[in-house]
Symmetry: C2
DNA sequence: GTCCCTGCAAATCCTTTGCACTCCT
DNA sequence: AGGAGTGCAAAGGATTTGCAGGGAC
């Protein structure tokens, strides 16, 4: 084992990840951290994310879009991945049966799991609304 | 939609995948198909695998090793991934609670899921045996 | 003949690494 | 001082894509 020294960059990465809920990829995190550390490099972000994952402070997962997503480790929960916009939403455990509510009548298909995450694929409410507006522009503002 | 014409290459890929149980990556499949079609290209293999996946005849999944694995679609089942040698084994549904038997007392950690697959990570029996032999060479041939 | 499919190679995308330098401790 | 950690840029590996020729219908 090696001695692990403090670094502002790692702290910022950890902190950033802890305060967001969108399960970012390394690159998304990089873009975000950059506003605080304009000179940080993508390599550093990757190195720290992998280090934190080994330490068990964060987790890595793939949801089928070709790149790895990171998540601050809290307690086990479900993830819902929108097939249209790629958004990854958290779902509390115990909601599986009710997932269809979330997508406004749509279907959620069980996806991938991690030791603390479970995935469902479907289309999020936003995308569904957007799509129906494109198909029938006349009902913009679906206020009942 | 486009017309889909027959191709010997696609047929061979499909057939090959259907008759193996090791959930190969595109490259592994490529090496195998090559014995039948020495000139087939990796690009063709990828194109067909993605096409078949879209048609729902096969499925794609990632088990955390950086590349995508393919599986002929049959019925839902579990997968066990060996953390040491990377082998991906099939487990019938209903075996989850007994996964530890399979790894000879080791622990199997729930991993990722796909619409028809569930993953468990651990160390396969072969690797465990190999490791214990390295640690105590005197007990080669563990015949009781 | 038309359009899909292939082989090949170049291009892309994501991630890792080597190196010289800087910052903790 | 000693060794982690960093930035940069180059390297790597997996997958995709453009193009010209070949095959299915």
């Amino acid at each position: 084992m090696k001695a692990l020294k403090y670094s502002r960059q790692r702290e910022s990465i950890k902190n950033n990840l802890m305060h967001r809920t969108d399960h970012p990829t390394a690159d998304a995190l990089y873009l975000s951290i950059r506003t605080e550390f304009p000179n940080i490099s993508l390599g550093t972000v990757y190195r720290n994310l992998n280090l934190l994952a080994e330490l068990g402070e964060i987790s890595r997962f793939s949801c089928g879009d070709g790149s790895v997503h990171f998540d601050y480790v809290t307690k086990p929960h479900y993830h819902f991945v929108c097939k249209s916009c790629g958004a990854v939403l958290d779902l509390p455990f115990g909601m599986v049966k009710k997932t269809s509510d979330l997508v406004d009548g749509g279907e959620a298909v069980p996806g991938r799991v991690d030791s603390h995450t479970v995935f469902f694929y479907g289309e999020c409410a936003d995308c569904m609304r957007k799509k129906s507006l494109e198909e029938s522009p006349e009902i913009a503002d679906p206020e009942k």
